[in-house]
């Protein structure tokens, strides 16, 4: 199988869906000739023209609002939000309008739109271009949230998102755009709400999202060298969340660490850990642990920024403590 970058995988997903369905349009800042700063959408305007690949003014709430109205009336817009940090600008259109329209209208109106944006620190982009804000939108009923962990995942999840009849937001880790992975030539979709078990294990479950899947996989290798068998699970979508796969795994391993790049407090790690504690408590041999980004604005200095996100070493240390039955209340 060929290896392609995550950037190319997203580009292919967009192009394939635009070829299949003439109501799919792409809109955002510099998505046409510029192909976005990350060059993800390069070539699309040449194939589909400026009617379907629309460069917008720097007006995130405005063009997201247009997408909501367009989705309600027959188009399937994919909105490009250049940096995930700009989510704060579109919160009303996304959370008060798009997310609630189907429910508020008693099922009469639908909003089949995709917001594709990014996340991830350690790119030396400082506090307003480095956040991982997926927990904010996952909190809102009516929005689906996908978090691809590789090029393969990014393509399959994007295609599913475009065909979904609801608002979907996809967070791509901006540090992974050039990461290559095997991606089939033939068409495939990845269903939402179906977690992927990347590695089977018997001692501890590592639930990880997006780029943290790589962190968990690296940790699992180190742990294996020390005789600890880790199971690695990628939920793929955090809304909907495949709770069953996670709980089944934890009931088997009796230990769990949840790793995610959002801020740790009130975040995705807290949510998944709480569900494990609620529904698999009597199967646990150790407290469920969370590893999220530090609760600080992402600092610019490399010396500080790298401290803020979980690393394989962090995961290994926590896992070994869990295996040894050490108490965690001092952490």
């Amino acid at each position: 199988m060929r290896n392609i970058t995550l950037s190319k995988a997203v580009n292919e997903a967009l192009a394939e869906e635009m070829r299949l369905d003439s109501t799919v349009i792409l809109m955002g800042e510099d998505v046409a000739e510029a192909g976005t700063p990350f060059k993800v959408t390069s070539g699309l305007v040449e194939e589909f023209g400026t009617t379907r690949v629309i460069d917008t003014p720097i007006s995130e709430p405005g063009f997201t609002g247009l997408a909501v109205g367009a989705a309600m009336t027959g188009l399937r817009p994919v909105v490009d939000i250049m940096f995930g940090d700009f989510l704060f600008l579109i919160m009303d259109q996304l959370c008060n309008q798009a997310a609630k329209t189907h429910y508020m209208s008693g099922g009469k109106l639908t909003v089949p739109m995709v917001v594709r944006t990014n996340m991830g620190a350690t790119r030396r982009s400082a506090a307003q271009h480095s956040q991982s804000l997926h927990a904010l939108v996952a909190h809102i009923p009516g929005i689906k949230v996908a978090m691809p962990s590789s090029a393969y995942e990014a393509k399959g999840l994007m295609k599913t998102a475009i065909r979904d009849n609801n608002p979907v937001i996809i967070f791509e880790d901006k540090l992974m755009y050039q990461d290559k992975a095997p991606v089939p030539e033939q068409e495939y979709l990845i269903p939402f709400g179906a977690a992927h078990i990347l590695r089977e294990g018997s001692d501890i479950t590592l639930v990880a999202t997006s780029s943290m899947v790589q962190v968990a996989q690296a940790a699992a290798l180190h742990l294996a060298e020390q005789g600890v068998s880790a199971e690695v699970i990628d939920p793929r979508t955090i809304a909907p969340l495949d709770e069953e796969t996670i709980l089944t795994s934890v009931k088997k391993t009796s230990r769990a660490i949840v790793i995610d790049e959002g801020h740790q407090s009130y975040g995705v790690t807290a949510e998944i850990a709480a569900r494990i504690a609620e529904k698999a408590f009597y199967h646990l041999d150790a407290p469920v642990q969370r590893l999220g980004a530090m609760d600080v604005p992402i600092p610019f200095s490399p010396a500080l920024e790298d401290l803020t996100v979980p690393t394989p070493d962090d995961v290994v240390a926590r896992a070994l403590m869990a295996m040894r039955g050490e108490l965690f209340h001092a952490l």
Binding site: T23, I25, T51, R52, T56, P57, S59, P61, G62, F63, T64, G65, L66, A67, V68, G69, A70, A71, M72, T73, G74, L75, P77, D92, Q93, N96, Q97, T101, H102, Y103, M104, S105, G106, G107, K108, L109, T110, V111, P112, P141, G142, K144, R163, D164, N165, N166
Partner: protein
Amino acid sequence: MAKPAQKNSDAYLHMYRQMVKIRVFEDSANELYLTAKMPGLTHMYSGQEAVAVGICEALETRDKITSTHRGHGHCVAKGANFKQMFCELLGKDEGYCHGKGGSMHIADQANGNLGANAIVGGSAGIATGAALTAKTLGTGDVAVCFFGDGALGQGLLYECMNMAALWDLPVIYACENNLYGEYTHVSEMAAGALMDRASAFGIEGHEVDGQDVLAVNELSQQLVARARNGEGPFFMLLNTYRYHGHHVGDINRAYYRSKEEETFWKETRDPITNFGDWLVTEKLASFDELQALHAEIKTEAKAAVNYALSAAYPAVEDVTEHVFAETV
């Protein structure tokens, strides 16, 4: 009244009927509130009927509108029926949104009403997006974005007007200046001339007497036809007045506007009274015929209210329905 375009008397009487329907609907809704039969609050459209009716009578069913928290008038004018509207106001299952939306979120997609919106200015994107769909798919539909003077403070509106102008979208921004955003006069909230907001984007703007249904309708017909022809977007500033407070519970209003002002508008500028007088003067209807029409609509409203009062609430299991649409 403005000099009328060529129309037959049926069209005039239909406009009159639509305005009376809105007034009677609002009086009935107010009564439901005052007698504690309605959950929550609602915002009355009374006084502004000529705006919604003058514009919506120029639209076809397939054309789209977006509405506001003060949206009952737009909803009626776009073709909604009393029964489903009252059911929605009372949170009943037979309401337009199965009781899940309520007064501030009624949507009637079959008639092209994409919904009222409880965020001031919040539907500017939706209306403009509907116009983007119309242009992209070549449907020939026109979208009208209703909003009040209060929304002139929202940045979203200007972002959307900018894109509509850049892309020649078939959308009409209908600014209903009823003089008050909530409890504050427009002069305290909007700097500069209101019409300049349109010209800043190169959008053709028109100011019109929002109490004169014929003037509103004549202008709307021209602008809708031109928007359908690809000449949009347009901006309409409709000068009007809100008879009630910001919402039904806003009873003591002396701190922000005088009784004299309210009386002036109600007694000299009422859009229904003035249009009725004109119909009689032009011998298009008799006074008795108009009175009979009022009585008929009041009877219809009473029946719809009684129906809604005894209608069933949604089933408890419906609370989790419609969070997500099904994907086939």
